[in-house]
Every structure is written in C-alpha cells, then in structure tokens.
C-alpha cells in the first residue's frame, strides 16, 4: 500500500451532505473486475449536471475532495473507494464518514480526514472563493491553504497504517501461531459454533 505523509494538491469542493456509496459507485458498475479500473464510475450519475464541481476545469486533476457530513454512508461496497482512488483521490475531508467506507478507504491508502462542521464550511468556501488547492499533513493532522489552517481527526491506528503503508494480511499472517492455538481451544470449548 502506498504510504501517505503529506500532500499538496488540487482539492475539489462538493458542498453536499450524505454522498453515499451508491452515488460514489452506482450498483450497475459493480460487475467490473478490479483490474478494469473504477475511475470513470466516480459519481457518474451526478457528473455532467451544469456546474457540478468535479467537471469544473478549476478542479481538474483533483487529488483531494471536501464534502459535508456523512460521506460514504450506506453500502459496504469497496468499489466506492476504488472509484475515488482510481480517479486519483487520496484524501476526503468531511465532518463524518460511513464507518465501513472509512475502513475500506484506509485499507486502500485513502485518508478520511474528519473536520468540524464549521471547518468543513470554511474549507469549502476557501476552495470555491480563493484557491483550488489544499495541503494535508498527516503527521501533524492539519489541513492548510493560503495561511489558514484547520485540524483534522483520524483514528490513531488508521493514521499509523496510512503513514507506514501497512498491509493487514501480512500483519495477520505473522500471528498465525496464535490464531491456530486460539482456533484449537475455541473449537473444543464452543463446539456448537462450528458447522
């Protein structure tokens, strides 16, 4: 997994609440294999509408999105994260995220940065009115643009995982001995839990 430390890039404002995973990656595209790429799928039912920010040349090549509350709620489809990552997004800034989405995001090197509702509005305003660019500093957990700066929150374990570029499966397989010992004991003590 690609490490995430600091990123200065074009940031696109999406002043919408509740951008759910059905919108990020509509159901009809979930037949795609991962290798086919999900970039063109991203928010495709919203794109093309007049004035939709992602189509605005000011925000072309965006690697950061800023949105309102409950980003990525709903379905557990990891395709929502693939769509963002394949489009080029490495960080989403919002006041709250869907739980499963955020976990999927971190597993794919995408940073879900949680800011207060007031700071989210300030960041959206900054991107719309002043500069289409943000700096995300994961070490310091801060977002900055044009001399202004806002803190963001992320679970410390997720922060470490993004900073180090950890892969969960390799980490788990290094504990195989403990898993096997547990399984043996558990199977004896909780026979009804087995099929």
């Amino acid at each position: 997994m690609e490490k995430f430390t600091r990123l200065t890039a074009t940031a696109c404002p999406l002043p919408l609440a509740g951008i759910d995973t059905d919108q990020l990656a509509p159901a009809r595209f979930l037949k795609r294999k991962r290798s086919e790429g999900y970039g063109p799928v991203l928010l495709c039912d919203l794109r093309g509408a007049p004035g939709f920010p992602l189509d605005d040349p000011r925000y072309a090549g965006a690697r950061i999105l800023a949105a309102r509350r409950n980003f990525g709620g709903g379905s557990s489809r990891e395709a929502a994260v693939y769509a963002l990552v394949d489009y080029g997004i490495r960080c989403v800034v919002a006041p709250s995220f869907g739980d499963i989405f955020a976990s999927n995001a971190v597993g794919n090197g995408l940073l879900p940065a949680v800011v207060s509702e007031a700071d989210a509005e300030a960041i959206l305003h900054m991107l719309e009115a002043f500069t289409p660019s943000l700096t995300i500093d994961l070490e310091a957990c801060r977002i900055s643009a044009q001399g202004a700066s806002w803190p963001f929150a992320i679970d410390p374990v997720w922060r470490e995982k993004l900073l180090q570029g950890w892969d969960d499966i390799d980490l788990t397989l290094s504990r195989q001995g403990e898993i096997d010992a547990f399984a043996l004991r558990y199977r004896t003590e909780h026979a009804f839990a087995w099929i």
């Binding site: 379905s75 557990s76 489809r77 499963i100």
Partner: protein, 462 residues
C-alpha cells in the same frame, strides 16, 4: 464486573489485542455473495487458500433474477464467478435455483447458521441483521472479505456501546420498520457511528424474531457498527429444529442464556423511546433519516435553522419532486415493491397480504419473498394468491429492486412505495424516487395509489 452482551461475545472471540487497542477477532460465520469476486481475485493474486471453507457460506442473491426467462449474459456471469470461486475453494453454495437459496440475511437465521454468541460477517452492510439472534454481525469491504477468507479473523477496534430502550407497546398496524425508522430519525444517519447498539425494553422483547431482524437490519442506516437483541426463549424457540442448529441444542441454550447484559452493565450512551408515541413512518427525502409520521408534511427548508441541513432538505425534496409543506398522505405513487433483507420474511408478507386480501391494487407492484423457503410457505398459506389476485407480481427471492443489480429497476422520475432500506438517489435506478415504509403501509399504497395511513384501512377479506 457486570458486562454487556456485546462485551461477552467480543471477549470470547479476541485472539489477541495489540498495544494500540486493535483486536484480532475470530469469525464464526462468513457469508459471501456474488459481490465477492473482487475478494477472490485478491486470493488468486496471492495464490492463497481459504483457511476454513466450512465456516464460509456462499449464496447468490444480489443478482438473482426475480422473474423466469432468459438472463442477461453479464448477470449470469456473476453467478458463474461465484459458482467457480466456491467450487475452487470448497465452499458450500446455494445458487439461484437451490431449494435453500434466498437473501443472505434471510437464509442465515432461517437455516440456523446464525446463532447467539457468534461473530458473523459478510461483504454487505446489512449484516447487522444477524444481531437479532444475539450475535455480533457487521458488514465489511472486499479487502476485509479477502482477509477473512485467508485467515478466518479480522482486525477491529472495539466500538462504544449504546442501549436503545423502547418502553410500552407499539400501536396496532405499527411494526419494527416504523420503530427502526423512528430511531434513525432521532439519531441521524450518522448518529450511531462508532457504536454497537443493543435494543432493549418491553416493546423490543415483544417483537417477533422477524421484527427483531428488521430492527437490527436497519441499524446500519444510523451508521452504527451493529445492532443486537439479547437472546431469550423466543430466540431459542425460533432456532430449535433448524437445519444447522446445534445437535446438543439444550446445552447450547444453557450457554446462550448467560449472554444477556448483566444488570448494572454500563453503556456509553442510553436512549429511551416510548412505543406509544410511534406512528406509521414514511421517508420523504433521500436518506433514511428523512423520515416522518405519515400524518406529517414535507419539511420547509426556510424553517430549518442549520443552513447545511436546510440545503439538504431543499435538494432532497427537489429530487423527490415534492414541495415544502406538502402533506405526505396523498402523494401519488407509481409502483410498489415488497421485499429485501429488511422486509421479505413470512411475517412481512402476512402483514401486506392482510391489507390486500380480496382487493385490487391500482398500481403495479412486485413482491419478492426473502428466500425460496419463505416463497414455498407463502404459497402454502395462500398469501401468493392474495398478491396475484390483487394484481401484483409474485417473484422469486433475491435482492431485486432494493439494489437494482438484477435488472429490476424503477424508471427515472417514477415514485416507488418500497419496503427496502435505502431511499438514496438512484438506488432503485437512475432518477428513481423511493419512499421507505412498512409492508402494511406499502400494501395500503398499492390499494390507493397514494401514500396512505394504514390505520385508516380495514384489513381485507381473507
């Protein structure tokens, strides 16, 4: 020290805990559906095997055709991939035509695969459903599906605990769907984030197993990790005799009886509702939190103080083709859908049939039972005939019009009275407008072609 139901199950499954607080958990049941193809591709890339194929159960539901006849090649391909992956890895599979096929969250409890005290995962957010049996059930992404396939474990941070207590008794015609939507509206679509919810109180205990499954199913719509109801005599009676129920059943019941939260166990947050205050609920907007009693009106954004919330209300009403202040009763509906992992069990079908019996629907609709077994039972009970006599279509089981993957879609701009779980923009098809409600309310809408207060409709002639 007194412990909660959640803590007891969590501790039983904790293989190890890292200093940073992450726990490696043992997973008892892993359900996979057609969407698992991305995860199996990850296994293939690593030349990895499935660690415990006997604890993995495959079922084809997301793309399952609801109607007989030819299937589009790209849909058939999804079943073929699941069949191939199950075969390669030695996983038991119920494909579309199997007698035990159904929606994964219906067949898990129905076959006695989901049991109290287990940890259950699936690459589907509505895995919270399984908590109704006193299990921890939660949805995971494709990479986590691959992780469980390879290791039978998952890294998790322990969530905070919330108890939602419902006092009193639900009124006539009001069920688990109304209760769940009411809770989501109170908490907000992200208000449960970071929590595991335990439902308690007399109104919850009084729910049937089907009702508890509906309640836990919708827990994900307030953003919580999982929802649970403590196992009791009703749970044991439901499980007794099911195909995969433990052979030493009484011994299992004895150990399950120790699972409920101890008195004095502490929760990080407590919420109490009075069941008597709950009316039949419908959604008016594009999030399950956009829900109101059927007697209400579409909110007026001008009266919402928070500008972000006001903007959402304006955009949601515009998408739904509604105007501020419009009465919910009487909104014209184009079609009805009764089904999905939320409301497709036998009790749901009985509730809808009780309204429709001996009457004709004035709009088209589809009824999709939750499993092949529910379908057989509904046909034996005469419910299927009630639906078809009313002019509704009686289909096969699957996710169908809840997620629109199998080709069942609501047309752009059409309005659907739906017993499903998400009224997101485009969920039932691009431009589709979804109103969530209970099976009885959907049946009432079918009779009138409008959003209708089911309390004003007398049960039909059976």
């Amino acid at each position: 020290m007194p412990r909660t139901l959640f803590e007891k199950i969590w501790q039983l499954h904790e293989i190890l805990r890292r200093p940073d607080g992450q726990s490696l958990l043992w997973i008892d049941r892993h359900y996979v559906h057609e969407g698992s193809h991305v995860a199996f591709a990850q296994l293939e890339a690593r030349c990895a095997a499935v660690a415990y194929p006997n604890l993995c159960i495959a079922v084809a539901d997301h793309y399952a055709p609801t109607r007989p006849g030819p299937v589009a090649p790209e849909i058939a391909e999804m079943a073929a991939r699941l069949t191939h992956n199950s075969g390669v890895h030695g996983i038991r599979l119920s494909c579309w035509d199997a007698p035990d096929q159904g929606i994964v969250h219906v067949i898990g409890p129905e076959r006695g695969l989901t049991l109290p005290g287990l940890i259950v995962v699936c690459g589907d957010s509505h895995t919270s459903t399984h908590g109704a049996l006193g299990a921890i059930g939660f949805g995971i992404g494709a990479s986590e599906v691959a992780h469980v396939l390879m290791t039978q474990t998952l890294w998790q941070k322990r969530p905070k605990l919330m108890r939602v207590t419902v006092e009193g008794t639900l009124g006539p015609g009001i069920g688990a769907k109304d209760l769940a939507l009411c809770i989501i509206t109170q908490l907000g679509a992200d208000g449960g984030r970071g929590f595991a919810i335990e439902y308690a109180g007399p109104a919850v205990r009084a729910l049937s197993m089907e009702g508890r499954l509906t309640l836990c199913n919708l827990t994900i719509e307030c953003g919580a990790r999982c929802g649970m109801v403590a196992p009791d005599e009703m749970t044991f009676a439901y499980l007794r005799g099911r195909p995969h129920a433990p052979q030493r059943f009484e011994a299992a019941c004895e150990s399950w009886a120790k699972l409920p939260s101890d008195s004095g166990a502490e929760f990080h947050r407590e919420i109490t509702l009075n069941a008597a205050d709950i009316a039949p609920i419908v959604t008016w907007g594009t999030s399950p939190e956009d829900a109101l009693p059927i007697t209400g009106n579409v909110p007026d954004p001008a009266r919402i103080e928070n500008p972000v919330r006001a903007a959402h209300a304006r955009e949601a009403a515009a998408y739904m083709g509604l105007h501020p202040g419009q009465k919910l009763v009487g909104i014209t509906v184009d079609r009805v859908f009764i089904g999905s992992c939320t409301n497709s069990r036998i009790e749901d079908l009985r509730a809808a049939a009780a309204i429709l019996a001996g009457r004709r629907a004035v709009i088209p609709g589809l009824v999709s039972p939750g499993s092949a077994q529910v379908k057989r039972q509904a046909e034996q009970e005469g419910l299927a005939n009630i639906f078809t006599d009313a002019g509704l279509e009686w289909g096969n089981s699957g996710c169908s019009l809840c997620v629109g993957m199998n080709g069942d879609l609501v047309q752009p701009g059409q309005r659907c009275a739906s017993t499903t779980n998400r009224n997101f923009r485009g969920r039932q098809g691009p431009g589709a407008r979804t109103h969530l409600m209970s099976p009885a309310m959907a049946a009432a809408a079918a009779l009138t072609g409008r959003l209708t207060d089911v309390r004003e409709i007398k049960p039909g002639r059976i």
